[in-house]
Subunit: 337 residues, 2 copies
């Protein structure tokens, strides 16, 4: 496997510097850490939002730092949880006196390290709340989790919690809003090719020329089953059926969705897949009010995609549409429904 890198051991450090250089109006690096924090001034009474996890999922999470989403993102090594001391640095950077919400994806290492960091923050008098995202319907337990994994649905949690925080909502309300999203979002993905962790330089698994893996996570961990490569339409049907069943989605309901590329999927293919997703929603009479298509939560150089569906309840649409400006957020709106 070939990578565009300098020293493989410096990949996270180098990439964080590159991101700050490319997006200086949004991002600054907390000196001596793997934390990217917001540049622009924030109100003193605003709840801070921190997310993070292993690297290799770019633009997650640094790409979501900015107005209306995260105050700080903490980057671990590739596919490795950030350490508690780094997470604590992120909490400190995000704290403006009104408390900090930690948005954690459900992986054993992340959950444990964010918990420790939360304890350390408490010792410093920083009030925190944690939500754990577990949107992946593919598997109940997995290689790295007890319970379901957290994947691209996390972006909706960032957005809605971020908008609530920006509006001046107190910590408990921001947490409750995030919990509402977690309660109503489901995701599932597939891989056409494996991904290769730079330090390993060997693919995390192998697939033959006509095989794919369904229900894959974002770390190259196994999915639910292997199958022959199917047309995009059948993949959309298979995934959306599983998501809709789990959500108990009913005709007439309003939803938001993310059509997410896994890192090496050409945009032209993702656009074809989007057409199939649109047709499925139309057939089952579900109303996509808010559509996002692009690379939002990747898995290094994996080819494949994931779908995330959020049932829109309460004020969610308002918070999804609220002003937001970060390197990787793209406003997505359906005007015609």
């Amino acid at each position: 496997m070939k990578k565009l890198l300098d020293q493989v051991e410096n990949i996270v450090d180098d990439a964080l510097d590159g991101l700050v250089w490319a997006f200086p109006q949004y991002l600054q690096r907390v000196p001596g850490t793997h934390v990217l924090a917001r540049v622009e001034p924030k109100g003193a009474s605003k709840v801070g939002i921190v997310s993070g996890g292993g690297s290799g999922h770019e633009p997650a999470h640094g790409g979501y730092v900015g107005y209306g989403m995260l105050d700080a993102a903490v980057a671990g090594e590739v596919f490795t949880s950030p350490t508690p001391d780094q997470i604590l640095e992120g909490i400190r950077a995000a704290n403006h006196g009104a408390g900090v919400l930690l948005v954690v994806k459900n992986y054993t290492g992340d959950v444990m390290n964010f918990e420790i960091a939360q304890d350390l923050a408490a010792e410093e008098g920083i009030q925190t709340q944690t939500v754990v995202v577990n949107d992946d319907v593919a598997v109940e337990d997995s290689l790295y989790t007890t319970g379901r994994r957290g994947i691209a649905g996390t972006i909706f949690v960032h957005k809605i919690a971020g908008a609530l925080a920006e509006s001046g909502a107190p910590l408990e309300s921001v947490r409750d809003g995030a919990e509402q999203v977690i309660h109503n979002v489901r995701s599932m993905g597939f891989a056409l090719t494996p991904c290769t962790v730079p330090a390993a330089m060997q693919p995390s698994f192998t697939l033959t020329d006509d095989e794919m893996e369904m229900g894959i996570g974002i770390h190259g961990e196994p999915g639910t089953h292997r199958q022959k490569v199917k047309p995009a339409r059948e993949l959309a049907d298979e995934i959306l059926h599983q998501i809709a069943s789990d959500l108990a989605l009913k005709p007439g309901e309003d939803i938001a969705c993310i059509i997410n590329g896994m890192g090496a999927t050409p945009l032209v293919e993702l656009a074809v897949f989007a057409k199939d997703v649109a047709q499925w929603f139309h057939q089952v009479q579900v109303n996509p009010k808010f559509v996002m298509m692009g690379e939002y939560m990747t898995s290094l150089d994996m080819a494949g995609a994931s779908l995330s569906v959020l049932r829109l309840t309460g004020d969610m649409t308002q918070w999804l549409l609220a002003a937001c400006d970060t390197p990787a957020w793209r406003q997505g709106v359906r005007h015609d429904q």
Copy 2:
């Protein structure tokens, strides 16, 4: 090779439908054509801007349709020039009575078909001007061109011509602004892996596990030479040296740049590469005022990157910073220099 597709012969049609569905606030399809046109109202006196070319380069060109860039984008089949009748449809959609600028990348088929379309438009009384982008410094003539190829530097032409048009400038001024960009922009790219045209299902060329191709175009056409894979820093040096020589770039000059992923390059690697680019500019004392990093002009599933450097002359910075809202444009600004 595995692709996320339905019928391979429908890839362009399906992808255009998917793009319109995902970005309805920007894009509409001219019925019965492969043309994506702007949704939002435009002033009657505005010069129209049309670009286009083969598909497989997404987000080019549909992703640049919207306020401050293109009025219409014409999509050919994968890596194939759009036909003159389709280009004519694009010109019609972009024409509001003040004439239309055609932004063409220098490939023999594109140049010929845009010329024919221009003649057809003249017969309908639509005034047009054409500019041909030839920013690739790698090769003088190539498999598909006489003279240099047009690649990712085209995005700067779209942006600056689009901003001029939006400001109410007449057709000749918009064309002159575009020519100024073409005169001052240079690009060069490389591939770590080949790309695979869906209908062919075989890579367009082969590279061994430790080989890369320098000076590659955006269609899998040959570059200047093959070499062992080098660290990102050496690739940045090699490419920027060639670009800067060709541009006769001098210390103290202001530039804009695009760090462009070719389709299958993970963002974490592109960020590492960006750091190296930043260091090179710093060493040669060139001032990057405007930085863009991401996928702007791709080559299907090719892993690799290209760099584009624009010398900022006259009012270019103003037009780069002018308001713009399209699916794929991201404002990139250096605040600190």
